[in-house]
């Protein structure tokens, strides 16, 4: 009886988490995400935040490039915990790939797992060619940079 109640309570609480717009990122998941071996196709991991206006430029470009070349996979990481304004900010770009936001892990541990050399500046973009190649770009990115790093044509 108690167990059934606990299960019900768990589902009740876990329900909204399961329906969240972003997958929570911890240090282990972050390490996986930036490991070139994880990516078997040209992939971009784009870090952004609600505070970062320059990130919008990158998301806009990635949105148009992902539309023009279906082989490009775009994963987004909000470098902050999920909050109400986050999804409405990302939704218009219609990026099909996985979406992450910082989970409950120490934010500095997540940042370190993503890139020990990262000082927190945004945007920060990781580019994978799907064959073990990896590049990192701080700030606004260009189509040429993405084409060169991913081996794709747009």
């Amino acid at each position: 009886m108690t167990r059934r109640l606990l299960t019900l309570l768990f589902l009740f609480i876990a329900g909204p988490l399961a329906a969240a717009d972003f997958a929570p990122l911890d240090r282990q998941a972050a390490k996986q995400l930036v490991n070139p071996a994880t990516h078997r196709q040209p992939t971009i991991v784009a870090l952004w935040s609600s505070d970062c206006n320059y990130c919008k430029k990158n998301l806009k470009l990635l949105s148009s490039l992902a539309k023009s070349n279906k082989n490009l996979r775009v994963i987004t990481v909000a470098a902050e915990p999920e909050s109400d304004p986050l999804w409405p900010m990302l939704k218009p770009y219609a990026l099909g790939g996985p979406r992450y936001a910082y989970g409950t892990d120490n934010p500095e541990a997540i940042a370190y797992a993503i890139d020990p050399k990262w000082g927190g500046e945004l945007p920060r973009t990781f580019l994978f060619d799907g064959r073990g190649g990896k590049a990192v770009v701080a700030g606004v990115i260009s189509t040429e940079t993405i084409a060169k790093a991913t081996g794709l044509r747009f």
Partner: protein, 407 residues
């Protein structure tokens, strides 16, 4: 972070309500826990909003301003942070408050003894907010909060710095996007944002209309302030130098409050079309030497730097050196009793370390000190002074408010 307005928005309604319930349960659980915990420990919610400020009163007691829900609360300790009074709400009416990352409520004493608190009230539209302010004559009851600027547009007025002067003036300076917005409307280019300021001549009882200190500031880094050797107010912030070098700018204020001249204060030439989220800190010591700490990327590596700023025809940076290791971040600096102290955070691969270095020779040599570490989220450290003694104040998610006397 729940807003009533978000509940009932079509398909989001059920999810919002469920999330609200989960948050409520979490709050209930953590309230029971918090009764035995230290003030400042995080309470529920997924977003740790730990941004806090601390200041010592003339009688030696410590005052902290921190966010709790939709209120800025003031906590008081008479034993250097070992125990805390029941908090006092600054804003009687609830309102949203920014207290994460580079945002935090500020706390200071006016020359006449009034306790002053400022904060940013964010609006639902991202990156917008207004600079709010309240004063208390007795440290317990606060005046109704006021917005210190007359501009009521829903735009950025954020990242304020509050400076109190011996003549009972209070100056707030913040990042303001009104010029960017009007340039956008006129389809003209405008790089970055602007710095605006508002002055009170009566210890914060009233403010003069705001005015511009500088164009082309960076958009979302905290602003810092200090009092120069001759009593002139000093403000320093991250700037955007053409084409996109995010070095720092500094200005002295004339007696009428206007900027003397805006000078480039650092020369690391970090070129990035991005948001560093990493503002500077500034202090002027008893001998009138200006000491600053800041974060920049130099030669491809992001580092915290220390340097002394000498004002010649231009600013000359003396004794520039790195602070801490490659992952050092968010340093703060203060001076008292012939000592200079810098505190910062540094992630060691497992935990966030709080480290400090102290100089007894005006910043020429330093002794490193390990102060503390935490497993969870943490605020930026603040170095504060009580007469001739320096302390580091640090709020962590797991341990709450912590106060460390500096050697």
């Amino acid at each position: 972070m729940k807003r009533i307005g978000s509940i009932g928005k079509g398909g989001n309604a059920i999810r919002s309500a469920m999330r609200g319930l989960a948050l409520g349960l979490g709050l209930l659980a953590s309230c029971a826990f918090a009764a035995d915990g230290m003030p400042g420990m995080a309470k529920g919610g997924s977003r740790p909003e730990l941004g806090s400020s601390a200041v010592f009163a003339a009688d030696g007691s410590l005052f902290v301003a921190a966010k709790q829900g939709d209120h800025v609360m003031v906590y008081r300790s008479t034993d250097e942070g070992r125990s805390w009074s029941a908090p006092t709400a600054v804003n009687a009416q609830p309102e949203p408050i920014s207290a994460d990352g580079e945002n935090r409520p500020k706390i200071a004493f006016a020359a006449d003894g009034g306790l002053l608190v400022s904060w940013v009230h964010p609006f639902p539209k991202p990156n917008t907010g207004s600079v709010r302010f309240a004063r208390s004559d007795d440290g317990l009851r606060f005046s109704p909060p006021v917005t210190v600027h007359q501009d009521a547009a829903i735009i950025t007025h954020r990242f304020e710095s509050m400076l109190t002067l011996p003549d009972n003036r209070v100056i707030l300076a913040w990042i303001d996007k009104r010029d960017l917005e009007s340039a956008k409307a006129a389809k003209k280019p405008y790089t970055g944002a602007a710095i605006y300021a508002a002055i009170s001549n009566d210890g914060g009882r009233s403010f003069q209309p705001e005015y511009k200190l500088a164009d082309q500031s960076c958009e979302c880094c905290r602003v810092t302030s200090a009092i120069d050797r001759d009593g002139a107010p000093l403000f320093m912030w991250r700037h955007v130098y053409a084409p996109n070098e995010r070095d720092h700018a500094i200005t002295r204020l004339k007696p009428d409050g206007s900027a003397e001249r805006v000078m480039r204060a650092t020369f690391d030439r970090w070129k990035v079309d991005g948001c560093p989220h990493h503002g500077p800190s500034l202090v002027v010591d008893e001998k009138g030497i200006r000491h600053a700490v800041w974060f920049n990327q130099k030669d491809g590596e992001g580092r915290v730097f220390y340097g002394r700023l000498e004002f010649l025809a231009d600013v000359k940076v003396d004794g520039q050196r790195t602070v801490g290791g490659p992952s050092a971040s968010h340093a703060d600096i203060a001076a008292a009793g012939g000592k200079l102290a810098i505190a910062w955070k540094e992630f060691d691969g497992e935990r966030t370390q709080l480290r400090a270095m102290v100089s007894a020779d005006g910043g020429h040599s330093f002794t490193d000190i390990a102060l503390a570490a935490t497993d969870g989220a943490s605020d930026q450290p603040r170095v504060i002074r009580r007469k001739d003694q320096l302390f580091t104040f640090w709020r962590t998610e797991k341990e709450g408010f912590r106060v460390f006397p500096m050697p």
